[in-house]
């Protein structure tokens, strides 16, 4: 508590500036989405606070309280209590199937009065904290298998619990911890395999297996052609190449088998929609199509603030929560979305820059965990609105309507800012 006086001086105001900008722009978007030209609501009207824009204003207000709470806590609290926070959230995740309520078809919410909270949103923060704490031990070396295994376990337990409550989208967010682990020394082969696996997954859906085989053999051939003469004569090279081709082919076939036999019908359809937007035009295709129509109709300059028709008149389902990017695209056009993407990349860059300044591995690892989570949301959320990612219930950080989402991202971010403001007090190892 002794440091609270210095927080003002040490906190990274650039990051705070980004936060205020995002939350502010996000609110304006939600306001525009609920704005009705027939009956505009004024702030003095009680009905305003029943609208999404009014509620979001309340969420923003309460977030300020959360920020103060986070900032007044001792910076050592987060490292010391990481395990308890983690275990506490696991308990909540276990309890939610029994004590929770169903909202929007998802049985993963707790209800306190009129407020609803989704523990899965907060599990990311807890996992990031525990992972960072685990990596803070100088003996932990992520290039060694036992440590990799334990780190994976920390990530996997909440993931499994979230999948169990049917929130596959939220569970997939945990894949973003690969960025944290990679930065902290996980061999590059893992993220490479991960990205390769996704590439295989997509190509397995897009093209027939024999085409993949032909492409693989051709690329192996080209590889041989460009190799130095001496290694071409080494039979081991050919053996390795053949092994590589066989391994990738097996992976491709495995993916195909997984898609066809393990994935549930609705999950398979979400992916099919990506490849064939005309598929299921009334159901899943509808959301993708309408979202693209909203963004596409924005044109270069957009229709202007409050000028959107698609998002305003409910053509895009979930347009204030997961599909909030559509409003930006429709009302502010290509200029607006480009500005927004560049802003987000700048924000991530700032956070990574700050994270690398940390002397403590805990703070640095947590920082990259934060960056990974934000990036993953950014990737999937925007990707799904423009038809590059399957539809899953993943909000756009700071922009999407919803208390759980705003609160959890606020806490996630401000814990890092708190740690960062004390970076000179922390021990460097």
């Amino acid at each position: 508590m002794t440091d609270s006086n210095h927080i003002q001086g040490r906190i990274d105001w650039i990051t705070v500036g980004f936060y205020v900008l995002f939350v502010g722009l996000g609110w304006l978007n939600i306001y525009s989405a609920v704005y009705s030209p027939d009956a505009p609501l004024s702030f003095s009207d009680p009905a305003f606070y029943d609208s999404n824009a009014g509620k979001q204003l309340v969420w923003i207000g309460t977030s300020l309280v959360l920020i103060i709470c986070v900032l007044v806590l001792d910076f050592r609290f987060f490292e010391s209590f990481a395990l308890f926070i983690y275990l506490g959230l696991l308990l909540l995740l276990i309890a939610v199937p029994f004590l929770g309520v169903t909202i929007n078809g998802s049985h993963s919410w707790f209800k306190f009065g009129s407020a609803t909270i989704q523990p899965a949103e907060f599990a990311k923060t807890a996992t990031a904290l525990l992972l960072a704490k685990y990596l803070n031990d100088p003996l932990v070396n992520l290039s060694k298998f036992p440590f990799q295994w334990k780190a994976a376990l920390i990530i996997a337990i909440p993931m499994v619990l979230i999948v169990a409550s049917n929130e596959t989208g939220s569970a997939l967010v945990f894949a973003s911890f690969l960025i944290l682990l990679y930065r902290e020394g996980l061999p590059g082969i893992y993220p490479a395999l991960f990205i390769g696996g996704i590439a295989m997954f997509v190509s397995a859906l897009l093209v027939k297996a024999w085409i993949i085989l032909v492409v693989l053999i051709l690329s192996a051939g080209i590889l041989v052609l460009f190799m130095p003469i001496y290694s071409q004569r080494d039979p081991k090279t050919y053996l390795r190449l053949s092994g590589g081709v066989a391994a990738i082919m097996t992976l491709a076939l495995l993916v195909e088998w997984l898609v066809n036999n393990v994935l549930k019908e609705h999950q398979r359809n979400r992916i099919r929609v990506l490849i064939d937007p005309g598929f299921d035009p009334r159901g899943l295709g509808y959301q993708v199509t309408q979202s693209k129509i909203a963004i596409g109709s924005g044109g270069f300059w957009g229709k202007g603030f409050l000028g959107g028709t698609q998002t305003k008149f409910d053509f895009v389902p979930e347009q204030s929560t997961d599909m909030v990017f559509c409003t930006i695209g429709e009302e502010h056009g290509f200029v607006g979305v480009m500005f927004m993407i560049l802003l987000f990349l700048g924000f991530l860059w700032r956070l990574m820059y700050l994270a690398d300044l940390q002397r403590s591995r805990f703070a640095r690892a947590y920082g990259f965990g934060l960056v990974g989570i934000l990036f993953f949301h950014f990737l999937v959320n925007i990707g799904m609105t423009i038809g590059l990612m399957p539809i899953m219930g993943i909000p756009l950080p700071f922009f999407s309507y919803g208390g759980s989402s705003l609160w959890s991202f606020t806490i996630l971010l401000f814990i890092f800012l708190k740690l960062d403001s004390h970076r000179s007090d922390m021990l460097s190892r």
């Binding site: 009705s36 030209p37 027939d38 960025i179 990679y182 930065r183 902290e184 020394g185 309408q290 693209k292 129509i293 909203a294 963004i295 596409g296 109709s297 924005g298 044109g299 270069f300 028709t309 698609q310 305003k312 008149f313 409910d314 053509f315 695209g329 429709e330 056009g333 290509f334 979305v337 480009m338 993407i341 560049l342 987000f344 990349l345 991530l348 860059w349 990574m352 820059y353 994270a355 690398d356 990259f368 960056v371 990036f375 990737l379 925007i382 990707g383 423009i386 038809g387 590059l388």
Partner: protein, 621 residues
């Protein structure tokens, strides 16, 4: 240790960011299909059809107006009918219709309105008003029907019907949509653009449930409907109805024009039809019946039918011959040397030739007009002579359109050099002996009743006419195209008309017109004609104007298959003239005789005249 990894990670982020920007550029800037899709989604274009202009007669009597009718619409999502039997009873529909139409509407859209029942009358509309509270999800939209005050004048008025697929395809611009009503013939067609007004368009925003959410762009794109302009016609409805009654049981035309203005006072096409039956639900059955009728009731004969003018054309010959300087009041011809026959009488001068309608006289006069030039052989001289003649005759409106404000005006035929060159396949292939039939209005010359009424007006005016027209004022300011105000000179000096009018006076008083065609107290002058008809009995023609001094009415009457011009056409014309000038008819016996006279052929053979040259001798007056 792994510091450079931050850059690798950011590189990955940046690639994803660029990928998104690229994709966004494509869907927002390059591809414009999304914009259209968005408008289809959220913007509902509502068309407001304005009232079509009304039509009045020359004294301000209403001829055509609009009656509101009511169309019932359904919004399936909101529609609740607890008692289907009650509903069917109220609207007078069968249960089958109810089920079928509701299902169709549901298939089209659950949230958008569909037409449920068309054209309810004001009375029906009033009678269901109380019951409407029991039927949520149903509502009325007002529409309008053309309504006709009189059963007369249908052909010249034309009618209004749903636009045909071909018209829709060939329209200039894109004003009309499928299902729109459009004027089909007569003045409804000619004045379509002024009658229809300007359609209103409202752009309303709708949400995904089809609920309206206000004007798109604050209504800045909306267009208010503008009602169509009223038309003030020159028709005298009383005369029109009287003329109609005289033309009953006959096939033919009657056109009356005020000579000083070119205003058409009456225009009858017989047989006609009941325009009021060409509105609404009865349209297609009645239309079918009319279209298949061999008497062609849908044809507006006055501007469109083809006839030979017969002896009435001798008036033109008399005028043109004088103007060209070949004949004069004192020119006398006998029957000698003429291939066309006549009745037994001695040599006559020009006035006498018109009185008795002497065929050889006009043969000789025409021969002189054609041959009286000095250069070349008979072929070349024929060509030169005919050219000079036809140039002057064309001024009377023959062989071209007069420009009447009705659809489907036909040009007719005025044979000239070009025409005969094509008929005889080459110049120098024909000469006077091939073409002399036209000297007495037979042969290749073809006219419409309107042109002959206009001829009567030209003679009444002694050398000029104003293009005949039905509409004398449009809209509140009653403006009119200056074309219908400007006199056209025919190029024959006024002095040459005296002898012609004298001849016409004689024709009525003691010439070819019988006693039924004489009005005791009105000086009417006229000329009979008989139009050769190779398919049946000849057509009776009469053109006239009255009074002789200060003419008020010029008239042409054509009665098909009625034979000699003095028998049917002249009495009918005289009755209309009497009625117009005196507002009453004293000759009641003549009136009832011709109202009842039936000249309908037993088997009507459709079609105009053959263009084949008439070689047989003509003895018609």
């Amino acid at each position: 240790m792994f510091n450079q990894r931050r850059n690798l990670i950011f590189l990955f982020f940046a690639i994803v960011g660029l990928l998104f920007i690229g994709k966004l550029f494509f869907i927002q800037v390059v591809d414009d299909t999304y914009e259209k899709a968005a408008d289809n989604n959220a913007i509902r274009k509502i068309i407001q059809i304005p009232f079509r202009g009304e039509v009045y007669d020359r004294y301000g009597k209403l001829i055509v107006y609009n009656t509101p009718v009511y169309d019932l619409y359904i919004i399936p999502r909101k529609a609740v009918v607890k008692d289907t039997n009650h509903f069917c009873q109220v609207f007078g529909i069968t249960k089958d219709y109810f089920v079928k139409t509701s299902q169709q509407a549901k298939t089209y859209s659950r949230v958008k309105p569909s037409l449920f029942l068309k054209h309810l009358s004001k009375e029906q509309f009033a009678s269901v008003q109380d019951a409407m509270v029991d039927f949520p999800g149903f509502f009325f939209e007002t529409n309008a029907f053309r309504t006709y005050q009189s059963r007369s004048f249908s052909n010249a008025l034309g009618y209004v019907a749903e636009i045909s697929p071909t018209t829709l395809l060939e329209q200039k611009g894109d004003y009309y949509r499928q299902g729109d009503y459009v004027g089909i013939s007569g003045i409804e067609s000619f004045y379509e653009e002024t009658l229809r007004g300007q359609r209103g368009i409202k752009y309303r925003m709708v949400n995904s449930n089809g609920v309206e959410k206000g004007d798109y762009k604050n209504g800045s794109l909306n267009v208010n409907p503008v009602s169509g302009n009223n038309l003030y016609t020159s028709i005298d409805l009383a005369i029109q109805e009287y003329a109609d009654s005289l033309m009953k049981h006959k096939v033919g035309s009657l056109v009356a024009i005020e000579p000083s203005t070119g205003e058409i006072l009456a225009m009858v096409s017989a047989p006609s039809y009941d325009a009021s039956q060409l509105t609404g639900n009865n349209f297609s059955t009645y239309y079918q019946q009319l279209a298949l009728d061999p008497m062609k009731p849908l044809l507006n004969r006055p501007p469109s039918a083809y006839y030979r003018p017969g002896s009435t054309f001798k008036l033109v010959q008399a005028l043109v011959g004088q103007q060209l300087g070949f004949i004069g009041p004192g020119t006398v011809y006998s029957h000698a040397g003429s291939p066309v026959k006549c009745h037994g009488h001695g040599p006559v001068n020009l006035r006498g030739a018109i009185r008795v309608s002497c065929n050889p006289y006009f043969y000789h006069a025409f021969r002189k007009m054609i041959y009286d030039n000095t250069t070349g052989d008979t072929y070349e001289r024929s060509a030169q002579g005919l050219q000079r003649w036809s140039d002057l005759v064309a001024n009377f409106g023959f062989g071209r359109k007069l420009g009447v404000d009705l659809g489907n005006e036909k040009k007719g035929i005025l044979p000239n050099v070009e025409y005969y060159n094509s008929v005889y396949k080459g110049n120098k292939a024909w000469k006077f002996s091939n073409i002399y039939s036209i000297s007495i209005g037979e042969g290749e010359i073809v006219v419409s009743p309107l042109k002959m009424a206009n001829l009567a007006a030209i003679i009444a005016n002694r050398g000029w006419y104003i293009p005949p027209h039905v509409v004398k004022g449009i809209g509140l300011k009653k403006v009119i195209d200056p074309f219908y105000k400007t006199p056209v000179k025919v190029g024959v000096e006024a002095k040459y008309f005296d002898v012609v009018i004298d001849g016409m006076q004689d024709a009525v008083n003691n010439g070819t017109v019988g006693p039924d065609g004489k009005i005791p107290d009105i000086k009417m002058v006229g000329k009979t004609g008989t139009s050769q008809n190779q398919k049946g009995k000849d057509h009776s023609i009469f053109i006239a104007f009255a009074p002789r001094d200060n003419p008020k009415i010029a008239i042409a009457v054509f009665v098909e298959n009625a034979g000699f011009g003095g028998t049917a056409a002249a009495p009918i014309a005289s009755l209309v003239v009497e009625k117009y000038l005196k507002r009453k008819v004293d000759r009641k016996s003549v009136e009832s005789k011709f109202m009842q006279m039936n000249y309908l052929p037993n088997v009507y053979s459709a079609g105009g005249v053959s263009r084949k040259k008439v070689t047989t001798d003509s003895t018609k007056k």
